[in-house]
């Protein structure tokens, strides 16, 4: 059946993301919070995460672009990004944020730039993963609702 195929496809995709270290068990816990009462929950969480992450990255770009880098603020925003990435299970992004925090705590300019590049790369990968998963989940739930009405 199409529905089963899509579910299996989604499961395989999530499994692959786990194997690549992109997602961890925190993602599974968030996914399991979704229920019939709020099928949009995953989409909402992921949208909120992406919105906050992009704001955080914009602030980091600003602070790291200053002639005199405010390492305290860089560290604070790296910590914030780490927190929200951890909540959605973005394992590799969490690690990248930790590296940035460490580099900024040690006031290492080159290290901070390298770590920030990594944060941005991992964010793009995580964003694409979460977007795909949310879209697949929405398609599956829409199809299931349609089948129940028939």
């Amino acid at each position: 059946m199409v529905g089963t195929d899509l579910r299996q496809q989604l499961m395989n995709y999530i499994q692959s993301s786990h194997e690549q270290g992109i997602l961890d068990e925190a993602f599974d816990r968030v996914k399991n919070l979704e229920n019939d009462g709020n099928p949009q929950f995953l989409s909402e969480i992921f949208s909120m995460f992406c919105h906050d992450a992009e704001n955080g990255i914009a602030e980091l770009t600003r602070f790291l672009g200053e002639p005199v880098i405010d390492y305290e603020n860089v560290s604070a925003f790296a910590h914030q990004l780490k927190g929200s990435s951890s909540s959605v299970g973005g394992h590799r992004m969490v690690l990248a944020c930790c590296e940035l925090r460490q580099a900024s705590n040690n006031k290492m300019k080159e290290g901070s730039f390298e770590a920030f590049d990594k944060v941005k790369r991992e964010y793009c990968i995580l964003r694409d993963n979460l977007t795909y998963i949310a879209q697949m989940e929405k398609t599956i739930l829409t199809n299931e609702a349609r089948r129940r009405r028939q």
């Binding site: 929950f41 909402e44 909120m48 906050d52 927190g83 929200s84 951890s86 909540s87 959605v88």
Partner: protein
């Protein structure tokens, strides 16, 4: 294994497990219906997740963004059975907010919820401010159930 059975039995006792399984929906026990909670966290993703975990357990909850908003909410006469208090927040952090709430005479169960910190002194300071419990993020349903056992004992 035995702790999982104990958790399930306790959750059945207060009607929480029935609510999760969908059995007896609409017949949640008085204890579950009457528990109220306040989520204090500056991160909007964590706010949503913690609120959802509480909601799935049938617990009415409100969300605020920092310690000052939590204090102001109590100053205007609100009270809650449970407060989930993040540590690092702008404006007023969890340590200061907990101290202020206790000084105001707030007797709610306050559970500190924070990222794993190697700074043991900071965690001790947080506990000493007046916490009843501390759980590392991410908050999960089993962790919340263990906090709720303290609410149940107090009621």
């Amino acid at each position: 294994m035995s702790s999982n059975i104990n958790t399930e039995n306790w959750m059945k006792d207060i009607g929480v497990l029935d609510h999760l399984s969908g059995v007896g929906e609409g017949s949640t026990s008085a204890a579950t219906k009457n528990i109220t909670a306040l989520v204090v966290d500056d991160d909007s993703v964590n706010q949503m997740i913690h609120s959802k975990i509480l909601e799935n357990l049938g617990i009415q909850n409100q969300v605020v963004r920092n310690g000052k908003e939590a204090v102001d909410l109590h100053s205007s006469g609100n009270n809650f059975d449970l407060i989930l208090m993040d540590m690092d927040m702008p404006v007023m952090n969890g340590i200061e907010a907990t101290r202020k709430l206790r000084a105001m005479g707030v007797r709610s169960i306050i559970a500190g919820v924070s990222t794993c910190t190697r700074d043991e002194l900071e965690q001790k300071e947080f506990m000493a401010a007046g916490l009843d419990d501390f759980q590392e993020k991410p908050l999960t349903t089993p962790k919340l159930v263990s906090i709720l056992q303290k609410v149940n004992k107090k009621c």
